[in-house]
Structures are given as C-alpha cells and as structure tokens.
C-alpha cells in the first residue's frame, strides 16, 4: 500500500490536470463520492453524525489487524467526494500514522477556494473526528 505521502501526491496530480476549471473540479469531486464504499446501514445513527458539518456526515470505523478502516456517508454528493478523498488517504492505517498525518494535499489543491469556507470548516471537522478515532484506538491498543 502506498504511503500517506504518495497518495496525497497522486491526488495533487489528479487535481492539477483539472486546472482552474471550477466546474470540472466540482464534478470530479462528486464523481469520487459515487465511488465511496457502502456505509453499514445499521450505523446510520445520530451518534455517528459529525458535528460542525453543514451537510449530514456519518462516520464509523472498524479495526482490522491493528489498522483503522473508515466508513462514511453524507446526504450531499460533494461532501461524499471530500470524504472519499480523506478515506483514500487515511483508511487502513495504524492509529499513529493517522495521528501524525500532515494532510498537505488540502492546501496544495486549493480546496478552500474550491469548496468555500463553510464546507472547509466541515472538512476540518471530519479530519478532527478521524484523528479522534485514531487517538481512541491508540489508547486501546496501548492499554
């Protein structure tokens, strides 16, 4: 599996092809969202909704061989695309990798300009929640 660094570089490369065309970029993000793995229906509960997002975002995890798998869904397609980028970078990693991850791709692709400030806050809330999960698993693994 590629490193967190490599995957982020891949994403930057993909977005650079789209250039400054905001419309194509948005369509591309939505397309990414449609590839998101099925979200476990029984976990579509209020406790799994991330606070701080304007859209509804559900996030849950599984632990397999010490690695964290993230599952997420949203009621809006663009948000689904954003989640799918985060999952691509952070899922199936050790807690420490997730906690130490510097998500430079977000600034490098100019995500703030693409999605605006409201959704950027939502994106930050998603990342925070993913890191909180990593922290909890790390504590459990060290216990």
């Amino acid at each position: 599996m590629s490193s967190i660094q490599d995957i982020q570089n891949e994403i930057i490369e993909e977005f650079s092809i789209l250039g400054d065309d905001k419309e194509s970029t948005i369509y591309y993000i939505m397309e990414l969202g449609s590839q998101l793995p099925e979200f476990p229906e029984n976990e579509r509960i209020d406790e799994n909704i991330i606070k701080g997002c304007q859209s509804k975002v559900w996030l849950t995890t599984r632990e397999v061989d010490g690695k964290i798998l993230f599952f997420a869904d949203s009621n809006t397609d663009i948000t689904k695309g954003l989640i799918s980028l985060l999952i691509r970078v952070l899922s199936e990693r050790n807690p420490s990798e997730i906690l130490n991850a510097d998500l430079f791709f977000i600034n490098r692709i100019g995500m703030g300009n693409i999605i605006g400030s409201q959704r950027s806050n939502g994106l930050a809330a998603m990342i925070k929640q993913m890191k909180l999960y990593a922290l909890a698993y790390q504590a459990k693994q060290n216990a």
């Binding site: 400054d20 065309d21 905001k22 419309e23 970029t25 948005i26 369509y27 939505m30 304007q54 859209s55 009621n75 809006t76 397609d77 663009i78 948000t79 999605i115 605006g116 959704r119």
Partner: protein, 407 residues
Amino acid sequence: MSLNIEEIRALFPILHQEVHGNPLIYFDNAATTQKPKSVLDALCGYYEHDNSNIHRGAHTLADRATRYYEKTRESVRDFIGAKEEAEIIFTKGTTESINLVASSYGRKYITKGDEILISTMEHHSNIVPWQMICEEKEAILKVIPINDSGELLYDEFEKLISERTKIVAIVHVSNALGTINPVKKIIKKAHQFGAKVLVDGAQSTSHLSIDVQDLDCDFLAFSAHKLYGPTGLGVLYGKRQLLEAMPPYQGGGEMIKEVSFAKTTFNEIPFKFEAGTPNIADVIAFQKALEFINTMGKKEIRNHEADLLYHATSKLSEIKGFIPVGTTKEKVPVISFNIKGMHPFDVGMMLDAKGIAVRTGHHCTQPLMERFGIEGTVRASFSVYNTKEEIDEMVTSVAKIAKIKNK
C-alpha cells in the same frame, strides 16, 4: 414605459465582475440586493463632508447631518404612505424591528393565556421573538397552516383568530417561496377581534407598492439592505398611538427628555425608540436607494420582475427532475426548487462554479421546510437589474446539473 435594464445595470458597479471565469449572475436578491452607485457615493460622501453626531451638536456639520438624516425619515414615510415622520423608527433591520415590538408592546400588553398568531411560512425572525415573549408571559403561539402550493389557508386563520388573539404577526411576502399573502384581508379580520397586526415587510417592500394607511397595519418591519440600501439598517413603522403607549425598548442617549437619578422622562417618538448614536451614514445613504426605486417606479419594476419570473418558471419547468417549491400564482420573483436526487447545497455549488449566485438551504424558515418535508431548496430571486439572458444561462446550467441524476 419599460425600463432600460442595461442603463440600470450600469448604475451597479458590483455586477460587472467575473466569478470563476464567468460573468457574475446575481440571483440572491431576496437575501440582499446590490446597491447603486448613488448609495455608495452617499455613504462615502457623508464621511467625507458631513460626519458629525446628530440631534445635539450646535454646529454646521451636525446640523447638516441631522437634516439629511431626517430627510431619509421623510422619504421612508412617503415610501410606505405613513401619516407622519414620527411613526418611522430606524432600527438595525427587520429582525430588530420585530424584536422591538415583541419586547416593548409584548411586555406591556401580553398576559397569561393570550394568543399570538403567526404563519407556517414565517422567517425565524418573526417566530423566535414571539416564542420568547410567549415563554415569558405564558402566552400561546398559534400557527396558521398553508397548503401544498405554499398559500396561507385563510379559512384556518378565521378559525384560529379570537378575542384571545393579541397580536397577528404575518409575513407579507415569503422569502423562501415568494408567496404574497392577503395581508389586507387578514388585518381587517384581526381588527374585528381587537388584535394588533405586525406585517413583516422584509420581502414585500422591494417588489410591491406599500401603503400602510390603506393596509391599516399596526406595525410594518423591513430592512434597507433588501431595498438597494445599506446593511445594518431597518425600519419599524408603527401607528402613533401605539408607539406612544409603548415603553422604550432600550435606554440611553437620544431617547430621553430629562435624566436625573430619581427619575428619567422619555423623549417623544420616534426618538424614544432610537437610543444611542444611530447608524447615521447608512440612514443618509438609504435615501438614495429610495430615490432610485422612485425613479424606476414600483410599477415598472414589478412589470419587469414579473416578466423575469414568468420566463424563468416556464423554462425551468421543462427540465427533467425540476421540483418547484411554492407554486402559487401570486408571487414576487422568487423561485424555490429542488432537483430530484440532489441536495440543494450541491446544486448551489455547481451553479456558483458558473458564476451564478443563488441561495441554498432552509432560508431561515425551518418550520416551512418541515411542512414540505424537505431539508431545503435552491432559491433564485430576481431583481430589477436582472435579465432574461441571465436566466437563460442559469436554465442551461440547471439543466446540465439535473441531468447527472435525471437521465
């Protein structure tokens, strides 16, 4: 005589810019309208030439600023057909105007078991202040229902109104749907039961001719920024005898006659309700906004906007997956809609990518959205400077977006 829209557009500097490489198409006029150059110049001009505090300074600048400030009050009086300037109070906006009535009138006249009547299509700012006073006074908030087209059910209103009703607070034009409510009829009926009526005119004052004496409303609240004027400024109209009987809303300078530690006597209306140094610059600039509207003519504005509404409605309706929300005949130029299978946020962001500014979400009318069983809508709202060509651009974009989920 029809308006020359190109000439009008030339008066609005902000319209002439690109967003994401496309010419800006501004269809968020129900949130706030753009301001003509005359308003911007007046704002700057005030600070450059006349800045001083009003109603007290004994010097030339203060006198000039006071005269300009009071000139706007006179223009507002004329704009809504009020009897006298004293009935025009400057506030921060519609929200503050409603809060003023709810707190001041409500505090004095609402008692336990009284009823306040609002409708399903109220903006949060015409819900929450009444909920607060109901909570405080153990009064009861009742809600007039609507039908699936987004029309108020007048029959239901007649069933709800009674001698217990103290206030009817009703939106003249729905910001989320564009529906024009039969406020005159409602006011007449309410008065038969001795209830006072506050009309939320935030969305109506920019599109319809308003005559408060003809309507016979007791209060009218509206915002300057939806009327080509500056932000942070609004108006409360109230009938003299009501305003005189009401206690002050806030205490401070300007609103007093005499202050001693033993007792303070209050100034006359409207000053009794304008505590502190007011928003002088914006009030003065607002006069230019009203002048702009008067020069266009409300009737001509309405005709042009009706054309735009008709054009947009018929074109959008041809799009597969287009779901209009609020379909009454009596509307201002507001189109609320959804696209089947898509969230309004996504539609809004894709339109923004093409330089088209619309509003998405619940439009501060969550109970209304709940009534329709939706989370929100995409809302395109037009103004005098919009064109059919701009609407065609939007229709093309909406059609492309709708295709994603409606093949």
